[in-house]
């Protein structure tokens, strides 16, 4: 959009970065919190793609999960509850040159932020969005979230929550312009990394739901799945991602699925058990809003002057004698 932006396209340092370059602060999550696994995957992704820290931005709303940007030695934006996506859209519109990642919780994204979630999928801007889904409100100390399984005893639902859990995958797959939907579980780091990398490389909004452990408020909730690999179904496809050999040794329950098949994706998305893990849907042909919106005009003072004078002419009364009168 602006001439001077081209500056930031020039790499400032030449030697590749290592993990430490992306780390800062001491994560303050509980022991065993799944957010740690996500943070690690993010740092690894930055390292492996040698992202320039100054042109990488981690954004979030409010919640335990939304603390993530504070632990990345990149630019970070810790916004307000539920609004991470519109903040990120604004950034991407003014600075398409930045790599933007968004961390949001199940309450942040699916409850207070639900409208923005639906519309972000429509805009399909080039963002990598991680839904840290621990199926509970963590930071505010245990209230039911939209994805809390029915019957979840929480501080606002002492007798157990009343509603079936919302399935963010089936909803996302119902939104026009959706271009990338995936699901992973925090306790299989390699797949988390594989899928997030695929999402990062995908041009468009990649919506990645990470089922994330919250030992503090959902202790043992994921144990049945962690203890029995059969309860996890890995999605594989030669053209997209295929689990590594040793992952396959543990996780034998695999399904050949073509992420380009929306109907199949919707069917798989509806499955709660076994947990489908991998890319459910990917469509590389959906245009990105920042591209369809982006002004072709190069923005210069001269250009602005031209534009302004041109408009003023329409409203001007010229003094007598003036040729334009």
């Amino acid at each position: 959009m602006t001439l001077e932006l081209t500056q930031c396209l020039i790499r400032t340092s030449e030697e590749p970065h290592d993990i430490a370059d992306y780390q800062t602060g001491v994560p303050r999550w509980c022991v065993g919190c799944g957010d740690n696994a996500i943070l690690t995957a993010m740092q690894r992704l930055c390292r492996d793609n040698d992202l320039a820290p100054e042109r990488t931005l981690f954004m979030s709303g409010i919640g335990c999960s939304s603390r993530l940007p504070h632990y990345m030695n990149t630019y970070g934006f810790h916004g307000t509850h539920g609004r991470a996506l519109p903040f990120a859209e604004g950034v991407k519109m003014s600075r398409p040159d930045l790599d933007v990642f968004v961390s949001t919780g199940d309450g942040d994204c699916l409850s207070i932020g639900a409208a923005h979630w639906i519309h972000a999928l429509r805009y399909n801007m080039d963002l990598t969005v991680i839904l840290h889904d621990n199926r509970i409100y963590g930071l505010t100390k245990k209230q039911a979230s939209p994805t809390s399984p029915i019957g979840t005893k929480s501080n606002t639902t002492p007798k157990g929550s009343y509603l079936d859990a919302l399935n963010p995958l089936t909803v996302s797959l119902g939104v026009s312009n959706v271009s990338f939907v995936a699901q992973v579980v925090d306790w299989i780091p390699e797949v988390v990394y594989q899928v997030i990398s695929a999402g990062y490389k995908h041009k468009g909004l990649s919506f990645i739901r990470v089922l994330q452990r919250c030992p503090e408020f959902m202790p043992g909730y994921f144990d049945p799945w962690m203890s029995d690999p059969q309860k996890t179904q890995l999605l594989r496809h030669p053209a997209f991602i295929t689990p590594s050999a040793e992952i396959s040794r543990t996780y034998r329950n695999q399904l050949e699925h073509d992420p380009r098949d929306l109907d199949a994706a919707r069917r798989i998305a509806s499955i709660e058990d076994p947990i489908p893990v991998g890319i459910l849907y990917q469509n590389d042909d959906v245009p990105c809003y920042e591209d369809t919106r982006h002004a072709s005009e190069v923005r210069t003072p001269a250009q602005i002057r031209r534009g302004l004078e041109g408009e003023l002419d329409k409203f001007t009364i010229w003094p007598e004698g003036d040729a334009r009168a």
Partner: protein, 630 residues
């Protein structure tokens, strides 16, 4: 007697009465083109060198039924031999395409006693007896009220030239007005050409013919003619409404992104911007709601140049939380609130100044921000440039308050001369010196250099949580207090740079009226009128309300009485239950009383229309008569 006025015989040269100013209204069902007729007439008056102020008459509904009181659509044009700063008081002459649309104007007391009414006469012998009757009754009652009613066979005359007069009547009427007010018919022809510019010659020709027919008809049948002397402008003048000026101001300020969600009466600014912004590389984003629009603008500002979000009352309420984040994280942001009638959904198409306190105090916690108000059309343009500059210099939120009356009012002002100074500088992408902190507040002013993504070495995480100079989350009291202190100091720093607004009228006297925003023209005209009578009154108008420039207290001290005139609610002292201890004052009055401990009274009106000079005059008279408390 009215009948004599419409003469049959050929016209002898008429006596032309010279007048200082006139207020003309043209009203019709929507779709009959009274709007266009009025705008053209205003433009012609302006071109002729008259001072002009036009006000749109907008029905509150999309497609009101034909011939309905609430359906009146049209224009008020106030033009004079001197500059005009507001819509004025009562109407001198009104043209109505049917009697119903006129009734509403009469009932709400818009017409001056003896006002001249040019009324389409076709309804008198309408096939529908009910219509014929209601017309006859209306005319009778208008005459009873002492108005000078001229029944004009507009339809009949136009039928001689076009098959469907509904589509041409407005130009016929324009012709009549040109004749009545002795405007140059040639200017009329040019104007028609301009208005239908894009359309083909045939259309232009038809309309010119109608125009000339109206002119000729008036010359022949009307035995009165006026002239409002004018001096042609010696410099280029721009004529547009407040929302257009505001949108052009955004463009001229160098802002690149406007995020909005539709809401009356703010949207037309975004409409215009949507048309022109892309040509200069800008973008208007219609978000899913106001919360998202505000967040989008903040995100854009954070990563690049200052962005703007435009809304009105209800939308502003929804942005309160987002605005708080921008204040806390010190991200520049311009928020425009084109005020409408409130509270809640209120009166969406009507003007009011009810959002000042919400703008200053509406976000939870201490969220100091700059609040400015636009007081005229030209001001709408330049305020946006100033707002952007302040937002980026102080890394804070600047709220600009306009309102529905400025949004659609038109007035000529000197055509702005573009200056590169207006523009935002390129965003800084240089390396951040080692050791520099993202919130390295200057302890005296609270000012700090903003780190923008892309700047090597500037990596940090902004947050709405209390934070220290490194932008690390702070749980301690000292950091919390330092942040609050620094963010507040910035307002004082700005305040020190503001100049005391000039007093309009003498520097001391009996009564000082203080105002803000769109009421400026009406207030100053009221001051003029009273001073002309020898009353010792003056006025003061504020552009900056937060922070407020110094010196206002000293000015107030030089007047025996001080009152504000505002278009928002203030309890009426004549209500039995209201006394000094429970009266709810108008917003500015409350602020002035608190800051200067001066007994500032207020007079306010919230009747969904711009405050008129005459109303201000009588309010000031009442205040002058009150004996001073002390």
């Amino acid at each position: 007697m009215t009948d004599q006025l419409v003469r049959e015989a050929p016209a002898p040269p008429k006596r032309v009465t010279r007048l200082a100013e006139q207020i003309v209204e043209i009203v019709s069902d929507s779709g009959e083109g009274a709007q266009r007729c009025g705008q053209s007439f205003g433009a012609i008056a302006a071109r002729s060198g008259n001072g002009v102020w036009t006000v749109e008459i907008i029905p509150a509904e999309i497609q009101p039924p034909a011939r309905s009181v609430a359906g009146a659509s049209g224009n008020r044009i106030r033009f004079a031999s001197h500059p005009v700063t507001n819509g004025g008081d009562d109407v001198d002459l009104v043209v109505a395409f049917n009697e119903q649309v006129l009734i509403g104007r009469v009932e709400s007391g818009e017409l001056k006693p003896g006002c001249t009414i040019l009324l389409e006469s076709m309804w008198r012998d309408d096939r529908d007896p009910l219509i014929a009757k209601s017309y006859a009754d209306a005319v009778a009652s208008f005459k009873e009220k002492g108005f000078r009613v001229l029944e004009i066979p507009m339809n009949k005359e136009c039928l001689k030239l076009v098959p469907d007069p509904r589509r041409g009547k407005n130009m016929f009427v324009l012709g009549i007005l040109l004749s009545i007010y002795s405007f140059d018919l040639e200017l009329g022809r040019e104007q028609v050409a301009r208005t239908f510019g894009k359309k083909d010659q045939k259309i232009i020709q038809t309309n010119v013919t109608l125009l000339e027919a109206g002119y000729a008809w008036a010359e022949e049948h009307l035995d009165f003619k006026y002239e409002i002397p004018a001096v042609k402008a010696t410099e280029a003048m721009a004529v547009m409404n407040g929302n257009t000026a505001l949108a052009l101001g955004v463009l001229a300020s160098g802002m690149e992104i406007c995020a909005m969600y539709p809401i009356t009466p703010a949207t037309s600014a975004s409409h215009y911007l949507s048309e022109v912004f892309e040509r200069v590389g800008g973008i208007v984003h219609q978000a899913e709601d106001e919360i998202a629009a505000c967040a989008f603008a903040i995100g854009a500002s954070y990563a690049g140049k200052c962005a703007v979000t435009i809304t009105s009352g209800p939308g502003y309420s929804l942005k309160q939380e987002g605005i708080g984040l921008a204040v806390m994280a010190e991200i520049p942001l311009v928020v425009v609130n084109v005020q409408r009638g409130g509270p809640s959904t209120g009166q969406p198409t009507k003007p009011e100044q009810g959002d000042l306190l919400a703008a200053m105090f509406g976000s939870h916690g201490d969220a100091p921000k700059v609040v400015m108000a636009t007081s005229g059309i030209e001001d709408c343009f330049y305020t946006m440039i100033t707002a952007r500059k302040i937002a980026e210099t102080f890394n804070t939120v600047v709220v600009v308050l306009s309102d529905a009356s400025l949004a659609t009012a038109q007035q000529p002002f000197p055509r702005p001369k573009f200056s590169e100074e207006w523009l935002a500088p390129p965003i800084d992408q240089s390396e951040i010196p080692a050791g520099a902190k993202p919130y390295d507040w200057d302890p005296a002013t609270g000012l700090v250099r903003r780190f923008i993504p892309g700047q090597p070495g500037g990596m940090h995480t902004v947050t709405g949580l209390a934070h220290d100079r490194l932008s690390h989350v702070a749980y301690d009291g000292a950091s919390n207090e330092e942040g609050l202190r620094m963010r507040s100091l910035k307002l004082a720093a700005l305040q020190r740079t503001l100049v005391t607004p000039p007093v309009y009228g003498a520097p001391e006297g009996e009564l000082l009226v203080v105002g803000w925003g769109s009421t400026k023209g009406a207030i100053e005209e009221a001051v003029d009128r009273l001073r002309a009578e020898g009353q010792r009154v003056s006025s003061l108008h504020l552009q900056f309300i937060q922070p407020m420039p110094s010196g206002i207290g000293d000015i107030m001290k030089r007047f025996a009485k001080v009152m504000t005139v505002e278009s928002n609610w203030s309890d009426r002292t004549d209500d039995a239950l209201i006394d000094d201890e429970n009266r709810r004052y108008s917003a500015l009055a409350m602020l002035l009383r608190s800051r200067y401990l001066v007994d500032v009274d207020c007079w306010s009106e919230v009747r969904g229309r711009p405050i008129r000079p005459a109303s201000v005059v009588s309010a000031m008279r009442r205040k002058l008569q009150e004996e001073v408390k002390r």
